[in-house]
Amino acid sequence: MTTRPAADENLAAKLPDETLRKWLRDMLLIREFEVRTMQAYQNRLIGGFCHIYVGQEAVAVGALAALEPTDPIITAYRDHGHALARGMDPKYCMAEMFGRIGGCAKGKGGSMHMFDKPHHMYGGHGIVGAQCPLAAGLAFARKYTDEVIENRASTGVAMCFLGDGALNQGAFHEAMNLAGVLHLPVIYVVENNGYAMGTSVARGTTMAHELTAKAAAYGIDATSLDGMDVMEVYNGMKPIVDRCRRSVQPAFVEARTYRYKGHSMSDPRKYRTKDEEQQYEAQDPIEKLAGFLMSERKFAEADYDSLAKAVRTQVREARQWTDLSPPPDIEELYTDVYADAWGPYHGTSLPLMMKDTQQE
């Protein structure tokens, strides 16, 4: 295994304006969406647990930019950002958190239950680390379909996002080993935001100063990159994705990032200092990309403002759509448990989102 330096080359700087603007727009959309989500939570329109992605936008946006849109992705419960970056219409995401039938899981799951099969986004999972073996399976399926069923070279890569806390779960280690032994094209992306709830990464895991060491035992290539800079994320990730796809091998990536907000909506954040928070907020990924566009790409304040306005409108419309979507009927408790109707069960009916997408 090798620990590779991140970003040999500034690939992102060679991309066209429209691509970089799209990244900025996606990050702005996630931020605006999350700000409105927090407000709705405070107004008791959203309940349960709600994990906010603000601060980490560059990781989802930069990493997904390095993939093909058909490459499967999966994550844990801090999932709104990944769903939106993958292209889920914010209205389905918002409606889910409001517990409305129009939500991507029919309003029966909530914040941790973002699924978007049409966009190859496989969730949204509440048990820390338990998504890691699923990602190995998603990669395995792509490889098998290509090599065994289609009789051609493997073409897919699966990407699995996990938190630094998930590194301590057995499921993560079993998945890494399995991916290594079976040569599965899966990339484990650790979003190291410094904390697992109130436990700092150094208190929670060994080799916290060099998380790439975790991959060494499995013979898996590992890279550490700056997750607060979307261009750096892309620069680091793109060669890894290409290599995994070509060589049909797993990889491990640490993206160093920070969650600006609490772990969930009820977290007084006593385990860290205001100073530390401000230090990270000062390296804001959105401002960084906007700064690059302004200095290098003739992007003006007015362009920024119009993007910001566009996402505000989009999120407002998502909210209006949500308000019009009714809560699920009580009978929904017995829907989607089994495929067939039997006993008390009503069989399965797809979420509206999938019916909409099928029509498109």
């Binding site: 349960g48 517990g99 338990a130 436990t199 929670g204 809560p327 017995y334 008390p344």
Partner: protein
């Protein structure tokens, strides 16, 4: 005496037991410096130090497995799992080691650990944070399962669990953590495991329940105006068959109430024991008021899912009128 919530009663029991017995070690995620997600272990880290209140990595299988090792070596670990849904990664250790070590070694090795686990719904949490998996563990021989429904019982039962020579899963109903206060003696006392509590005496009908629904049952009984005997099991395994049988023979009418899904829930076991012992005394078919045989829904529907007083009241009417 102090007027305590269930959280405070557990906190007090832990402090008193730790002061009495330095073999007791607490382990869990964020239980030390942060006092735990539900703040049950608040202040214990300061009081007993990092050696005895151990903040662990995010690793349930590791937490429980390590605790089993500690217990096999003669210590008294009291690990915490943050929510019942996270028992899943630890299920292996609980069922393959904790529950079987005594019988596997014919008594040479034992596992006196108490696994504290917040359980159940009613706090606006999603699935895996609102479930009631007590029947999974009752089904596994070798492990005891306890669930208090009041601050007083919580303290006495927890002390008994910690002192018990066998592994105990101590389920703490989240919905009751801060729901009400009760007089709880400062002095130590124990409540024996395996003994149910008769909450209200009555002769028209028996309700059997445990955990958070006990409170819903009390509300339903009050509005029914009937003479109803309410039994709070307190310990789910071993089950206090005698208390159940005595009451069922007296009233001849039984309603069982639990949060977990109905299919293969504990209600089925209880109903079956009543059939074995009280067949000729019964005046009506036993009814079960339970969660549904589905995954716990988003919080906006959770009160439909949980056995609330209204549904219990309906069952009371039907069984009483049969």
């Amino acid at each position: 005496m102090a007027n305590l919530t269930l959280v405070q009663a557990i906190n007090l029991a832990l402090i008193q037991e730790m002061e009495r017995d330095d073999r007791i070690i607490l382990l869990g995620e964020d239980i030390g410096r942060n006092g735990g997600v539900f703040r049950v272990t608040e202040g214990l880290y300061k009081r007993f130090g990092a050696e005895r209140v151990v903040d662990t990595p995010l690793a349930e299988s590791g937490i429980v497995g390590t605790s089993i090792g500690l217990a096999m070596a003669g210590l008294r670990p009291v690990p915490e799992i943050q929510f019942e849904g996270f028992l899943a990664p630890a299920f292996d250790q609980i069922c393959t080691h904790a529950a079987r070590m005594r019988s596997r070694t014919r008594g040479a090795l034992t596992v006196p650990l108490t696994l504290r686990v917040p359980v159940g719904g009613g706090i606006h949490a999603p699935e895996l944070h609102s479930d009631s998996p007590e029947a999974f563990f009752a089904h596994q021989p070798g492990i005891k399962v306890v669930m208090p429904a009041s601050p007083y019982d919580a303290k006495g039962l927890l002390i008994s669990a910690i002192r018990d020579p066998d592994p105990v899963i101590f389920f703490e109903p989240k919905r009751l953590y801060r729901a009400f206060r009760e007089e709880v003696p400062e002095d130590e006392y124990t409540i024996p495991l395996g003994k149910a509590r008769v909450v209200t005496e009555g002769d028209e009908l028996t309700i059997i329940s445990w955990g958070a629904p006990v409170v819903q049952c009390m509300n339903a009984i009050e509005s029914s105006g009937k003479s109803i005997e309410l039994i709070d099991l307190r310990t789910i395994d071993p089950l206090d068959t005698q208390t159940i049988v005595n009451s069922a023979r007296k009233t001849g009418r039984v309603v069982i109430v639990h949060e977990a899904p109905k299919n293969c829930g504990l209600g089925a076991e209880i109903a079956s024991r009543i059939m074995e012992h009280c067949f000729l005394y019964l005046e009506a078919p036993i009814q079960r008021v339970t969660g549904f045989d589905t995954t716990m829904p988003y919080y906006k529907m959770e009160l439909e899912y949980l056995p609330e007083a209204e549904r219990i009241g309906k069952a009371i009417e039907e069984v009483a009128a049969y």
